[in-house]
């Protein structure tokens, strides 16, 4: 099993969710995060003092899936989250060794 973690632009969430649903992935977890990267931040001005704010709001999506689904999931997310503008985000894939569904105690594949 793998866990795919994607950092995306906030307003792309619905599209990514839909894309994943289309390929049969029906569970995911979303976290509000702040990202730092190449994308330029913005300036904030408070009483004449300027602050450069370099952390930008992003969403982190985590999806646990069967290993064979990885390419499809990557494609689905990439396509849905892409604007072509700097700051579109990243996808990282790692392994998970066990999975459990708390409600039923089901394990691994059945738990996803």
């Amino acid at each position: 099993m793998k866990i795919v973690m994607a950092i995306i632009k906030p307003f792309k969430l619905e599209e990514v969710r839909d894309a994943l649903t289309t390929i049969g992935v029906h569970g995911l977890t979303v976290t509000e995060v702040k990202g730092y990267g190449r994308q330029k931040g913005h300036t904030e001005i408070y009483r004449g003092a300027e602050y450069a704010v370099s952390f930008l709001p992003k969403l982190k999506i985590e999806v646990a899936i069967n290993s064979d689904l990885v390419p499809q999931v990557i494609d689905a997310i990439s396509e849905a989250a892409k604007t072509g503008q700097i700051g579109d985000g990243k996808i990282f894939v790692s392994s998970i060794e066990q999975a459990v569904r708390i409600r039923t105690g089901e394990r691994d594949q059945d738990a996803l």
Binding site: F11, E14, H42, T43, E44, I45, E50
Partner: protein, 490 residues
Amino acid sequence: MKLRSMLSLGLAGLGTALTSVAVLAADAPAAPVPNKGDTAWMLISTVLVLLMTIPGLALFYGGLVRTKNMLSVLSQVFAIVALVAILWVVFGYSLAFTPSAIGDYVGGLDKLFLKGVTVDSVVATFSNGVVIPELVYVVFQMTFACITPALIVGAFAERIRFSAVLVFVTLWVTFIYFPIAHMVWYWAGPDAIADAAKLLAAATDDAAKAAAQTKLDAVMADAGLAFQWGALDFAGGTVVHINAGIAGLVGAIMIGKRVGYGRELMAPHSLTMTMVGASLLWVGWFGFNAGSNLEAGGGAVLAMVNTFVATAAATLSWLFTEWMAKGKPTLLGMVSGAVAGLVAVTPASGFAGPMGAIVLGLLVSPVCYFFVSTVKNTLKYDDSLDVFGVHCVGGIIGALATGILVNPALGGVGIADYAMKPGELSVADYDMATVMLAQLKAVALTLVWSGVGSAILYKITDMLVGLRVSPEAEREGLDITEHDERAYNY
């Protein structure tokens, strides 16, 4: 000098009526001085209308937008108050409340920079022999001029340029608000009429009678267009709500829909703030409506009672309408109903009786609900905060209902006739067709003047500074892109 208008018709039987009146014109009575109770009430009413606007309206609107646009809404409302306050004392008051200079459409330039307005000048109220300091009238009316354009910005919230707001509002108050305030609210006041009527009554020979009649006619004609029609608008149903509401609709359509409108969830970022704003609107609206009586007397009290119960009734009727339609009683529904009720009772507040006000409140909410939930979706315009559906629609209902509820037979106070028994308040006979015609004409006048005029002014503004931000800016939010600030840093 606002309302308690007199239908011009009411003057029909005047000639006869006056002959029986004692002649008093000769001995000029001492000029009336303001009563401190009235002055205190007008001062506090002014404060209340400011409270309605900032923070009231700003929070009501601000809570309904997304976090990223919160400050843009607060900024627009705050800036409008400051801007219009200055425009008002510089030329607005003069355009609105000096004798008509162009047709009966707008006042003149005699009081530019408040020229001639001193601590001792006084203006008329709706009672004979009762005056208030002119400066308190200036500042009270100023708050009306400030809030009206601030209402408009809700219609195109989340996508307008800040500079466009400043330019548009400057143009709009100049060409739309000041004239309409003049047309609906400017008149010579009860004592001027009484004096002229007394002269007429005192006239003994035909020449004198003719001269006096001419004089009286002139006094009656020293009023704005809609006032002369006999249109009733106690506290601003046409001048404020229909006026702003139609301008909002035109703006929403011309500027276009928000990016993502209809697809993305655009949930209010803080209904808490919206509730606070709605509550302050309710609280402050007593200054707006009861203050429009210009005196701390029975009329103000009646306006307060009407404002309270109409709002309560409209709150409940929106609540139950939505509960039945959608299955849940919502807070946003209640506060929307409250505002609809406040809007509807505004023109009627000094004219209707409490039970009439309750009926008005019960009726307005379902209609507004229908507009904001069904009509808007069907016609697919993006009036972000339902300025049209609540203020324009609610204002029209209120304006028309005023014509009905003023009827003493329905508990209303009737229409004042200041000429019938000069110096005393008499109530003219109620004639529904006449009154309703006047109301309809005033509504139509406002819709056309403000609708067409605003369209032109949006166009000009667009050419000057551009109306709308870029789609990227809209995505990121106006707070950062237009103001370099964020509302919250938790």
